[in-house]
Symmetry: D2
Subunit: 286 residues, 4 copies
């Protein structure tokens, strides 16, 4: 990944009107940017224009440090909001886990193999079980006991850690704890993997309930976390076939693969800035 | 299909105990039956044994007319319930439709091409739109207006038709009407296609709600109809990928393919007696 | 489909260089075009830039009749090639069939239901079997016997028909005949459905060979036809699961569904001008 | 896994004739065996009967040590061949790897999480790269340099290791070396993962060739190894969607997931004795 030439990635959402594609790409080109990807989406119902433009940093006429300010002026003119990212900056991500290792390990492996452009300086867990899993991956494992009774304290401690480690994204890799609205206000970029095909089987024990319902497919959903449980914008969904032969334990086993895949794909698309959230939905330019 | 030698298909459910596979297959063999398929499933939690045995009619020692009585004695001994079917008998099926043609047409085509071993002497619809669709397929099209206000009358008329035409199975091919519990008591074998991945989006307008929720996969579910809406035993589920580019109308378009496939597969498996219902679940020996 | 406002769709391929996205979209906007979709792809290895831009016809400053000339001047300046299409023009498509009806019928249905924006004035077959299938769909069915011995004559007759009926696209819906290179030179836009997951099982009897090989998945491939058999640019591929229980006849049955889906999707994307061919590959902006 | 009561699994292949299901299951029951699974398949073309019967060890009338001899007598009587397995015996498996870690790590994780009922005392590699990957998994890592020039010596060394470690199954987890016919004669049970949808792209660099061909789906195939390269009986195949945006490196990345899944599923089915090989095909009772 690091061998690709560095690029600038702009994500912008603004009210739709004629001429926006041309105006945005014209601005990049006028400043000497060599555009590599240019994706746009109009949500006619919402009256919104979404744009993702990626261009080479080398040769761009505006100095790296000044790009954000220049883009802000552009976005203000369009009445829009933006995110700006440089592909050679690896975001600092914290992984939250509980007792199940499969998603945590899968993400750490993918980082090591170069599939996920990020750093993982911090792993937070409400249990001690997975400490050894992180060995050799360079992440500090911090045990923050969490339960319904001490949630406020635990979240305060976690927010402190996220600040200390300068974390940009939190990934709930089977964390099994609900984060409060006040937590999310202070740290909004959280990606979760839920072990069902949302909106089916929100909440606890989806595999048990899927078995009882007798479904023929199970699923997993990676989504941004919002205060409303299992209701945030969906990034990716995967499924697996099941049959009457499968016990709940088989659903759990098969589900681990769909969970790992959905979470890894969603996170990669997020890190590559291919996901744009608007309202309760996402546009995914992949 | 008609060229395969005729077979006898026995489906039996009884309390589980040791020796049942041997006892059942031994009974078939002892009577000269050449077994072609033998599938069994034990639901340990429910304490149930499910069995599907298919053997060649030719050479079987019990006369065709006497097989049902002999099987009944066997099932009684095991405290079980059974269904018996001869593969050379084409069940008489009624298709229920409303205004959308895709499932109706798909089923008629599959019958003609030999994919679905059944006859369709009767098509019932609460609208006139699809009458011409049935031309050339040999089915009588009967218009039975149905609305919330006249449901009892409409259902009475439909039950009459089902009796007159000696219908064994009703298929709701996008019928869009709810059947009452009393209807189902009198005519229990009804297969429906619901245009969502149940239990997500039960009820009305699942594609609109799927679009609003921003899912990345849509689905269709073929299931046996029970009094509780969209809650009957699931036979087959299919999915299709969607993206932010897809409007509700695209979900509807893509959904038609998943609906057709799920319904056709489920119906074929039902007709081939590969589906066994127990409690709210199915075992599918396919 | 016809209710959407008419759009202009430009597909352009040219040598890659900096500034092309901006230049193309700028040209559209400068002429008053309200862009609805703007998709681009750079094939770095081939040094090619591919672009698909769709804008509203209403309000565009260049008169409909003059757009092609204006675009030609633009494309010439960029050293590129282009296709121009108006969404309110329904292309005239000929479907070629042989004895199997499933793909032919599926396409005719989809036209009638509004899924495929095209007209089908002509169906060509080397057999008489499917004539009645076309009843009620408004297509003329022309029987052109074809075999290895009379291929030149048959192709001459077909080219005449394609000219007479002003056909733009030919779709081989299980036509089972090879078209010669000289035919393709004179009529190049031909889409075929091959009943395997290309490049596996090129040529004859792919299902028989798939069964013998013992594969666990079968596939279908919709592709543009080139002189080299089963080697043209791929538009869409679909798969179906098979098991040891499936005989060759089951593969053929299951395959019909994958064939129908792959062909219908590919054709729709072609008609919506979402497919661009370059070299032996396609970019699909869907 | 270890908590399930131990079972006996019998796999038997013999010439087909009437009465076999009854005879086999009758033999189990007559000896007090409580059958949990009973699956059979008749290959009419080959005239073969395949059977997999699984029953509880506890309560079975024949002593564990004597079951093999008793089954042999039964199989001889039927002119068949059999495999016998006890579910509480964990087979000793050697994993062969080269430089890529994803399949090796995936398998080790699945063993640790209880998904794969096996032991891995030995990892063989022709490179040193992955030695540290095995840390903490209890496998000895043995470096056996292998190239075209020293194949005979390398294979001799490997056969020695397989014997010393009492290995029953070898899994080629991206081993990238061809095993000779004489090796396979002496150690026949070898499962390989090939990174294409066989029979497409046999041999070297399938992802490069898939990219050049412009396919829309890539695949992976887990199969038993035979002397003929990439031609052995297929156990499992998986696929992933690709688009024109994907470079060869993206195909390789996406392919890793399909490879891991296909290999893990195939190996699990092999270990659960759900796979039966006959001729160049497999029956998979899963």
């Amino acid at each position: 990944m690091s061998v690709s030439p560095a690029t600038v990635i702009l994500q912008l959402i603004c009210p739709d009107r004629s001429g926006l594609v041309s105006e945005l790409t014209g601005w990049v080109s006028a400043n000497g940017g060599n555009i590599r990807h240019s994706d746009h989406h109009i949500d006619a119902g919402a009256g919104l224009f979404l744009s993702r433009i990626e261009w080479q940093l080398e040769g761009f006429g505006i100095p790296r440090d000044a790009i954000a300010a220049a883009v802000k002026a552009l976005a203000d003119r369009l009445g829009g909001q933006f995110d700006l990212h440089f592909s050679d900056e690896l975001p600092r991500v914290a992984i939250f886990a509980s007792k199940q290792s499969h998603c945590l390990l899968d993400l750490l492996w993918r980082v090591r193999s170069g599939e996920l452009p990020m750093q993982v300086p911090l792993v937070i867990s409400n249990h001690l079980d997975l400490e050894s899993v992180c060995d050799g991956f360079g992440a500090r494992y911090v045990h923050v006991p969490a339960s319904r009774d001490n949630r406020a304290d635990a979240e305060a401690r976690i927010l402190e850690l996220l600040a200390d480690y300068e974390i940009e994204v939190a990934v709930l890799a089977k964390y099994m704890q609900v984060l409060s609205g006040s937590f999310l206000e202070r740290f909004p970029t959280v990606i979760n993997i839920h072990h069902s095909f949302l909106p089916a089987f929100k909440g606890a024990q989806p595999y048990h309930r899927a078995w009882e319902r007798g479904v023929k497919l199970i699923g997993a959903t990676a989504h941004y976390v919002t205060e409303e449980l299992d209701d945030g914008p969906i990034i990716e969904q995967t499924i697996a076939h099941v049959s009457h032969r499968d016990e709940v334990s088989d659903l759990i086993r098969k589900g681990r693969d769909t969970e790992r895949l959905a979470l890894a794909r969603a996170l990669r698309m997020h890190l590559c800035r291919q996901v744009m959230v608007y309202g309760s939905r996402t546009a995914v330019f992949a």
